[in-house]
Amino acid sequence: MQITTPMTTLMSSTPMRSDRRGFLGLLACAAVAAVLPFRPAHALDAGSARALIDRSLGEVYQVINSGQAPATMYQQFEAIFARYADVDVIARSALGPAARQTDAATFAAYKQAFQGYIGRKYGKRFHEFVGSRIEVTGARQLKSFYAVTSVAYLNGRAPMEVEWHVSDRSGQDLYFNIIIEGVNMLASERAEIAAMLSRRKGDVAALTADLRQAG
């Protein structure tokens, strides 16, 4: 469910209509807004979404160009991922409906293993990015979040479109999806984790053990 402020609700509904449903909706939203914890004055916008991706990419390239041992780099990629991505919601989405039936401790262990798996799996491709650059080209609002567009210039390859989806729904500005030349990473990880989970007949703890070895 999308949490909106009374102001945006007012603006999105037909302004002149004052029927009961609109009024009740307004009341409900006012109640939700009153119950919600105080949110910082800063709200996510195109500029801050863009800045988040710029900062994140800056750190990634620092690691890529550091020339360290691959294993060290994977750990640093994982740390950057944990800092700039909403790992909780990505891990939860990847696990699918099973996430709701999983207790907190099991989920926390799974999430930790998932984070390491992502760091290794995508980190292993770092050498494709040596000598490359990614330029952030813009940001636009998409539903309740922002899509930051960028172009990756890799050696010997045509430029690639990379889109980042950034949200502040976790309370912080974090990205939760990357779409590379149309390939939706969250969709492909959802399919992959579903396949791994079904191989373990729905046992999340067993999946967690597999994830520690995977990637």
């Binding site: 999308q2 990505i90 292993k124 998409l142 539903k143 899509a147 010997g156 149309g182 390939v183 992959e192």
Partner: protein, 261 residues
Amino acid sequence: MRPLILTALVALPLLTGCASAPVQQDGITINDPYEAQNRRVHAFNKGLDSHVIGPIADLAGGKNDAETAPVDPDAPIGLLQMVINAGRNLSLPVKSVNGLLQGRPGNAGRNLSRFAINSTLGLGGVFDPAMDNFGISERDTDFGETLAVWGVPEGPYVELPVLGPSTRRDAVGQVVDLLIDPMYHLLDGQDRAVVFGLRVASKAGDRARFGDSVDGILQGSADSYAQTRLIWLMNRRHDLGEERADYDPYDDADVIDPYAE
């Protein structure tokens, strides 16, 4: 090559029989009525990749070097890149033909200019002065895209032996591309064989350079068939600009919003 095309052509009519309706997966349409048959072909391709293509690619590409030493982007290009370039250059005339068939003369012209410049100044396409000196990049296309532009529907997903992921429309496109390629009509005998050999070597070279990504999907996945199918379809539809017939980025169903669950 002929046995390959024949296999593809023979395989297609066989792909009838049982059919399952297309399914939606995170807003992505998966139309795969021949999944059982496709999975058998996938197992064959996967074996071929790990036992034949992969090891050869490793030898040619020196994958272990890439793993440890960062490559200097300004370093002179190696033999592998020269082969990739030369083979790719030979694919430009047919791409140019497709550009015309799609009603995109600009793209056709770019590809033809690239071919003219790189074949001469680029010493038979080994180097790329068209990009380096004139800033003319390639417009990658094929007859599958031409069919898409003409409004032919994508058709079911198929995994072809050796050639890999495709759709019925793209499989037909691959065959037509060979038939309408000017290189095959202008050349004959030995020259034709050389051109064909270079193009195959170029594809193998690409595989050698970017083998890690392919290995990751093929060997590392819990269900490499489903991963390959999903990733290939998303990428292909993006390239053809037909992610969804009714694509609207503001529509709820099109973007995964994990916060909405």
